[in-house]
Symmetry: C2
Subunit: 330 residues, 2 copies
């Protein structure tokens, strides 16, 4: 049941016209590691690139599991559509391959947004856990923008360092935190607070309302002590309830205010440029390292060096000379 | 006023006999990037390596600035000496080169420990901000152990990811946190809580005592929610006062209990082995990357690629092909 391969032109035209099926196949193409796909992907990406360079607005939505990111994204997406935006949602799993039970099971998430005419929520293809891998995120962002989606919400579901890497690919970071006890600690321990531009305390409703207020206060105090941001923006902490629908409009306005702020002071363009440089550096490193692994003598040399190290015979600093010698390096 | 160069034998013998001057010069040698020093350092390290392989005990002491790490280390060091240990203290600055005012000014720190016969506190050489760089930490640990110091306290003064890297070189991580408001948040936001094996709430004295108790409670709750450690150890939170001298004995006992725990369940040896593998991998990567930068065509190709990317002409994914071509890679 393999579908016929599309030509580069078919991809380019289809995506330019916002055809969701072609866009979905294009995103899959970008993530493919097969050699023939790589060449095709490069061609498609190059043609569509001008539509993504220094355009659109990309928001990384992050936070610990259970913070209510998906429902918050749905609410924000609907608010964005109402104000004239075309919205795409990408879920990025930096630790792709690891099963994420609760998210997998949640097949009905973003119901309204998925059916909205001016939105594209990347579906979760069978055989993969989530809608995207971190590696091709930058390329995927370019593609959805080329398809006409000028606001991209990136849902990160990973934890730790890789989550911060994904955040560094967006124009801004929205941190979602549930008010439940213990979550405060869980939320901040990942270093993500440092990169957040707006903090949303979710589930500010019913019994949780006082806890949410307390959490918001505590974060405001904490952020007050943080060093000023390079963007010149003071990080606000907002309380929202996706259930009650309260605080969403204010949050959407705040996100817009941030966009305006960084566009007007030039930070938007500077950050995009820096991101391009990082992207280039990452790609160069990747190509360079692949060369190390392609050397047919490498695995043998590595095994020898590892054995010498693990038995205590060699200091790693010396053992690596063996590898360098085999690879004719240094 | 250059001192005469020492031979490898002089280094090896001097360090084996615990001569502090030779040890200090040996540590400086390990950190040197000059080619002739590298060869000498390799020889010295290889000879002294057996004394460090799977021996000794290494504690990374970490925490935000102002948490009282130095005074805590002095107290713990004195307690360790009293129980028969030989103690070395290394201060590691992962972000070496960045001025660290408060630490620089604090020249009299660890007064008693510095003068103790069974202790070695690495002095801060003129012209450098701190006593060590993260890059050579693993090598330096081997050297001080070879000099007879079987307990090494590693004070990390950096922040963020690099601090966690240093922590990953130790057998255990002691996280020091001051009870002052805001510090709770500051302390945890760096992801260091995840790698802590013991948490010490410092300054549990006088007016701060209730705050310390509150902070300890809050951390205990938070840690209760954290996933179990691979070592099978439940992270305790202790209150200490270096000023009043309270809680230090209990803390020292807890550190000893952790040591016994991981020795008896084999985690100590497994962790050391994994650290050796990481060390080897890091060294291979380092040698390999240095080859990229040594290619005389690289800088030119990089500048061209950067320009093409920054003006929006090329996608980084494509631009790196130019670099690969110049370097005859891929």
């Amino acid at each position: 049941m393999a579908r016929p391969r599309l030509t580069a032109e078919a991809y380019i035209e289809g995506i330019r016209q916002g055809e969701r099926t072609i866009l979905a196949r294009g995103l899959t193409l970008l993530e493919s590691k097969r050699a023939e796909d790589t060449t095709l992907a490069s061609e498609v990406l190059t043609a569509l690139w001008p539509a993504a360079y220094q355009t659109g607005f990309r928001i990384a939505v992050t936070g610990p599991p259970g913070a209510g990111k998906s429902t918050l994204i749905e609410e924000l997406g609907m608010a964005a559509i109402a104000s004239g935006r075309n919205v795409a949602v990408l879920a990025i799993d930096p630790s792709s391959g690891v099963s994420q039970g609760s998210i997998l099971a949640d097949k009905t998430r973003m119901d309204r947004l998925s059916q909205a005419e001016r939105a594209y929520v990347r579906p979760t293809p069978a055989g993969r856990h989530l809608g995207g891998t971190a590696e091709a995120t930058r390329e995927c962002l370019a593609l959805v923008q080329a398809a006409g989606f000028d606001l991209v919400l990136i849902e990160t579901v990973g934890v730790g360092q890789s989550e911060i890497e994904v955040a560094a690919m967006a124009d801004m970071v929205l941190l979602a935190l549930a008010p439940a006890a213990g979550d405060e600690l869980q939320g901040v321990k990942r270093g993500i607070v440092e990169v957040a531009d707006v903090v949303a305390i979710t589930k500010a409703e019913g019994e949780l309302a006082p806890l949410a207020m307390q959490a918001a206060l505590s974060y405001r105090q904490g952020l007050h002590l943080a060093p000023p941001k390079e963007s010149g923006w003071a990080v606000p902490v907002l309380e929202v309830s996706s259930l009650a629908g309260t605080g969403i409009a204010a949050l959407w306005e705040t996100l817009g205010a941030y966009h305006t702020h960084i566009l007007s002071n030039g930070y938007f363009g500077r950050q995009r440029k820096a991101q391009l440089e990082n992207w280039l550096a990452a790609k160069i490193k990747q190509t360079w390292e692949s060369r190390l692994f392609e050397n047919s003598d490498y695995p043998g040399a590595l095994i020898k060096a590892k054995q010498a190290v693990e038995t205590g015979g060699w200091v790693p600093t010396i053992a690596q000379n063996l590898v360098a010698e085999v690879l004719k390096v240094g």
